[in-house]
């Protein structure tokens, strides 16, 4: 196997010659706070390294809370899932350095996987909003989020090394963490950035319970310690390790070899720790939540047609080990799910060709192939007898697999340097296989789909500072193994599989306006996203529970994934504004609104109902002043209105207060200092008004008034 890989690598090395240091955004994707950096003409935004430093997010998802069109839900203290234009989980694509995190086990609704990126290793995060399956393939119904890691920064210095020690503290959860990082140049032949990190967080103190809208009912989730503020089911430990090596093979070819290892331990799922109405000591804990990613990448400038070529071979392992401990009955229900994903990704883009003095053409191409293999098991342990019994199946079926592949192209045609038209298409092939399990009456799966999608776009540069945009994008999501084979307890109830699901197909139409000059950056978008055959949870009866599945029949609510008989539609608008004021002051604001409705899952002939967990109207305001000597002072305001439009499953979801989630506003103060490249400190005084708040759909209330502190020293 190793020999084959080396041979493969050698072939790639012969492809081209030089390449720049990093796969940069396209040249017209200037780094503003509101423009889409990955795909020109699309709605999107970027969180830069400076933003991360000032905001001091608790996690990678937390880094997105100031982005327009993004709303971050937290099912647990150590989990976070970004809603992009009202959709999350399987309906958005998560990437790390362009490599898909999405795999065949991504489940309906929010998931924890973006949390498995160490925010301290991120250089920036790009958010693409709207359907984007032409470039990103399956799951890109509502957008894509790409976390791009830090490269070695040391530059050409022969033999050199630079060590950075970082420490951090947060008062609300007693978080203590640190990172040791080495940035080295090995005779300018190899550049290495390597680090190890650690974080340990205790229970998260909030500002108290969040009651329902128009009532004083305290929801069952989360539960509190006797102080009424500290949330049970919070806290976690985290170990990270990463190595990234850049090898400039020629002036135009660069090899990247990278390995990222994220290990999270003992992270309770807040809404199940304890479960609603259960004893205080009952707790579902992710004992292990690991993600290990290794990849080799070649970046090359081969010729004008293949100006930027990137070929990536990756292997990623996602590992979860859960335990639902019930000390009152000396019982622990355990489960382990592993998925190993091999990936091969190629993409190239041309330069702008000028077939005519007033016409320019540019092409991008790509192909992906990801193969997932699943291992899953479940057991029950009686701790007093010290006996463990294996279940016939885990949450998934042992030995199941998925293939996700596609070919795509995207062309741009610029006329008179005023109007740019874009069109693209993807042909995809998705195949799933899963053996049967007779004891649990699980059917075998052997199915495949070949979706075709495309997009169209227009960008009109009305004048040097005003641009109007319009896009029509198709998205698709083929059902994955979670949809077709999983059995699991979810927030709204027990969910059983449906092996007969068909792919979801989305169509996003959007119009936007951009204003950009020396002191103002502004963009605003309006969109309509329709989703045909939306995979949604429909209520079922106890008689629908599979045999030998007592967890199902004992549940209060029974759900099954079905293709909705009519389109689910989300209307929305979002925008961002950044103003540069005199005296090095800056103001940034965002606003997001979404309104979704879908067919009634119980009976399509009934009135349409709200889509689950659509974020309420929400926004942010940030202010920043920078001194000339390294100091800065800033503030951050986040707010959301109440969300009372609840889907049927929302109503039975203990995470959502009765009547809906109330609105909130919370404000942070930020300050920091940087002395050359030697010392950097950042301080955030969070939730100054000690407001009890919760992002709609979350299990966890926001942190109480407190501070977050970061210090870094380099030598």
């Amino acid at each position: 196997m190793r020999a084959r890989a080396l041979t493969f690598l050698c072939v790639l090395l012969l492809w081209g010659d030089a390449h720049e240091a990093r796969a940069q955004p396209t040249e017209d994707g200037a780094r503003t706070t509101t423009r889409a950096p990955l795909e020109p003409g699309e709605a999107g935004s970027r969180v830069g390294r400076d933003d991360l430093q000032r905001r001091q997010p608790r996690s990678a998802p937390d880094a997105l809370v100031y982005e327009p069109g993004v709303f971050v839900q937290q099912t647990a203290h150590a989990q976070g899932s970004a809603f992009v234009r009202g959709r999350t989980g399987q309906q958005t694509v998560l990437l790390f350095d362009g490599i898909r995190l999405n795999n065949a086990l991504f489940r309906q609704g929010p998931n924890q996987y973006f949390f498995t990126i160490d925010a301290r290793t991120i250089h920036h995060i790009d958010v693409t909003r709207g359907s984007a399956s032409t470039v990103y393939g399956t799951d890109a119904i509502a957008g894509a989020i790409n976390a791009v890691p830090l490269d070695p920064q040391i530059g050409k210095r022969g033999w050199a090394a630079r060590t950075t020690v970082q420490g951090q503290y947060a008062s609300a959860d007693g978080l203590v963490g640190g990172r040791l990082q080495l940035d080295a140049s090995l005779q300018d032949k190899v550049y290495v950035l390597a680090g190890v990190g650690y974080r340990s967080a205790g229970r998260l103190e909030s500002s108290g319970p969040v009651t329902g809208v128009d009532n004083d009912d305290v929801p069952e989730v989360p539960r509190f310690e006797q102080d009424g503020r500290t949330q049970l089911g919070t806290g976690f430990d985290e170990l990270t390790m990463d190595v990234r090596a850049l090898v400039p093979l020629t002036k135009r070819v660069r090899l990247v070899a990278a390995y990222y290892d994220y290990r999270q331990f003992d992270s309770p799922r807040t809404d199940q720790c304890p479960p609603p109405e259960a004893p205080f000591d009952e707790c579902l804990t992710y004992e292990e939540q690991f993600r290990q990613l290794g990849y080799l990448r070649l970046n090359a400038h081969i010729n004008p047609t293949l100006r930027r070529t990137q070929l990536t071979l990756s292997v990623q392992r996602q590992h979860e080990r859960r335990a639902l401990a019930r000390p009152g009955s000396f019982t622990t229900n355990g489960g382990r799910d592993d998925v190993t994903s091999w990936g091969l990704d190629w993409r190239s883009s041309s330069v702008w060709f000028k077939p005519h003095p007033n016409h320019k053409l540019k092409w991008m191409w790509g192909a992906q192939l990801y193969k997932d293999r699943v291992s899953s098991t479940a057991w029950i342990t009686f701790t007093d007898n010290n006996i463990t019994r294996l279940r016939s199946r885990g949450q998934y079926i042992e030995g199941s697999s998925a293939l996700n592949s596609g070919l795509w192209t995207l062309g741009s045609w610029r006329l008179y340097d005023t109007l740019t038209l874009r069109a693209g298409a993807r042909a995809a092939h998705v195949a799933l296989e899963s053996p049967s399990d007779e004891e649990s009456a699980t059917e075998s799966i052997d199915t495949a789909w070949n979706p075709l999608v495309g997009n169209l776009g227009a960008e009109w540069w009305v004048n040097p500072w005003l641009t109007l945009l319009a896009n029509l994008d198709q998205g698709f999501r083929a059902p994955n193994l979670d949809d077709l084979t999983s059995r699991q307890r979810t927030g709204p109830g027990y969910q059983i599989e449906n092996p007969n699901l068909e792919p979801e197909r989305a169509l996003t139409s959007e119009v936007g306006v951009r204003v950009s000059n020396s002191w103002l950056e502004f963009d605003a978008w309006g969109y309509r996203s329709s989703l045909a055959q939306a995979i949604t949870r429909a209520p079922r009866q106890s008689s629908d529970c599979p045999v030998n599945t007592p967890d199902c029949i004992n549940s209060r609510t029974y759900l099954q994934l079905v293709n909705a008989p009519a389109d689910a539609i989300i209307w929305g608008a979002e925008g961002g504004l950044k103003v540069s004021l005199p005296h090095r002051m800056h103001v940034r604001a965002t606003l997001s609104w979404a309104w979704g409705s879908g067919p009634n899952p119980t009976d399509a002939t009934l009135d349409r109902v709200p889509i689950s967990r659509i974020p309420p109207l929400n926004g942010t305001v940030e202010g920043l002043w920078r001194s000339t000597n390294g100091w800065y002072v800033g503030t951050g305001l986040r707010w959301a209105s109440a969300q009372t439009r609840l889907s049927l499953s929302d109503v039975s979801d203990a995470r959502i207060p009765r009547g809906g989630t109330p609105g909130f506003a919370t404000i942070d103060l930020r300050t920091g200092y940087k002395w050359k490249d030697v010392v950097r400190t950042n301080l955030v005084l969070e939730n100054l008004t000690d407001t009890a708040y919760r992002y709609h759909g979350s299990s966890v209330n926001g942190p109480a008034r407190g501070l977050r502190f970061n210090i870094e020293g380099s030598f």
């Binding site: 009955s329 029950i380 006996i387 106890s542 967890d551 004992n554 549940s555």
Partner: protein, 432 residues
């Protein structure tokens, strides 16, 4: 009425437990039955097999045996075996004894027999009562939700019963392990035992604040209110642990049986009370008793009552319908007619307690008749279930309650103790 000898009573009690029939002594005077009396189905009469045989003989058509309880079928079989009745017959046995009445079909359908005399304030589906017309009048339970999760737990009880105490042989270690897996299933019996509060007792209050039994340290403050975590769960856990280790399988199976019976009784009552604020809890009350089965069937507690105390089964059903009727007449999201609720719940609870008392009486007799393991099992069952009656018994008659509890404090299954216990039970609990 003539007195029936204690020996005969105990012997007859055993009929309901599928034990070898111990016939009454010839010189024992047999009490005459009077079906119009409120205690028409007292154990003295219902267990009078000899009288039953006679009465059955006076009936004129074939008896639908499927309508009979286990006890009654045993009795009928005994009659057949004795040859005292050649071919059972019944058409409309208007003059039949209470025993026969409780067993036979009325107008050709399986018995919806109620030989107890309800209180004037009780709800009586389809009959004369003081209640307004309501959804229960058709005699069937109309649920709020299409599915009731409690039914799954009662089905789990049945599976456990088949593994542990409904088999002829001693349950094995593997049986206990399999039963514990059922018990510990997600959202299963264990999950509800852990959180069960007994609504017969006031909520735990400390410094003016209502505490919940699920919270740390609260069960220790009030083990009566926090009956699940403080009392029932430890019994079950200990019994499973010992059973899986192969210790005293009969006894540990009986303990689990008793504890789960206790749980289902408390749950039926609890859910009826909390239906005040959550309508679907009425469904849970119904399902914790019936297992979501119709009146003529029934699993879990309903199955036990139907087999062993059929008249109580009928009255519990009426009580459940009363609860549903109350929630129909009081349709507010949070109920406001709490007087009507209390009437309904009390009607149901009275019937449940009567049924439990009858089970205690039968098990008392069993303890006397059996030997060794089965005797120990019966005693273990009684050790758990007799205190369950203490609260209600002391409310009915404190002196008799004290006597009953005193008897069982040192109960060994001796005949004198059994006679005393049965007398006390009969005094305390009448067919409602």
């Amino acid at each position: 009425m003539k007195a029936l000898s204690k020996h005969c009573i105990i012997s007859l009690l055993l009929l309901g437990l599928s034990t070898p029939l111990i016939g009454c002594e010839d010189d024992d005077p047999i009490e005459e039955n009077n079906p119009t009396e409120n205690n028409a189905t007292s154990k003295k009469e219902q267990l009078d097999c000899a009288a039953a045989c006679t009465d059955l003989g006076s009936c004129g058509a074939d008896l639908d045996v499927s309508c009979l309880s286990d006890f009654q079928q045993t009795c009928v079989a005994q009659c057949e075996q004795d040859g005292s009745v050649a071919g059972f017959a019944q058409v409309s046995c208007a003059t039949a004894t209470a025993f026969v009445d409780s067993a036979l079909a009325l107008e050709g359908t399986c018995a919806q027999v109620n030989t107890c005399a309800p209180d004037a304030s009780d709800y009586s589906p389809g009959g004369d009562d003081t209640w307004d017309a309501c959804i229960s009048d058709a005699g069937t339970y109309e649920r709020f939700e299409p599915s009731i999760s409690s039914a799954g737990r009662v089905a789990g009880f049945e599976e456990i019963a088949d593994l542990l105490w409904r088999k002829d042989a001693s349950p094995s270690k593997a049986d206990f392990l399999a039963a514990r897996e059922i018990y510990a299933a997600g959202e299963g019996l264990d999950s509800r035992v852990q959180r069960r509060e007994d609504e017969h007792y006031p909520a735990v209050v400390e410094n003016g604040e209502v505490l919940q039994c699920r919270d740390e340290g609260v069960p220790a403050k009030d083990s009566d209110r926090c009956v699940g975590p403080a009392q029932i769960s430890p019994i079950i856990n200990t019994a499973f642990e010992a059973g899986i280790d192969g210790k005293d399988p009969w006894v540990n199976a009986a303990k689990i049986e008793a504890a789960l019976t206790w749980f289902m009784y408390v749950s039926t009552h609890k859910e009826a009370i909390t239906c005040t604020v959550k309508k679907k809890d009425c469904d849970s009350a119904y399902a914790y008793y019936t297992g979501d089965k119709p009146r003529a069937e029934g699993i879990g507690l309903a199955g036990i009552f139907k087999r062993q105390v059929p008249q109580a089964h009928e009255r519990v059903w009426d009580g459940l319908l009363a609860v549903r009727c109350w929630r129909d007449l009081d349709g507010e999201e949070e109920a406001i007619n709490l007087d009507l609720r209390d009437r309904a719940v009390n009607q149901m609870d009275k019937a449940l307690l009567y049924g439990l008392s009858q089970l205690v009486g039968q098990r008392t007799a069993q303890a006397l008749a059996y030997e060794k393991n089965q005797r120990s099992a019966a005693l273990a069952w009684l050790e758990i279930m007799v205190p369950v009656l203490e609260r209600s018994a002391s409310e009915i008659n404190a002196t008799t309650s004290t006597s009953l509890q005193s008897t069982f404090t040192s109960y060994t299954g001796a005949q004198g103790q059994a006679e005393s216990a049965l007398d006390d039970l009969e005094t305390l609990y009448v067919c409602p």
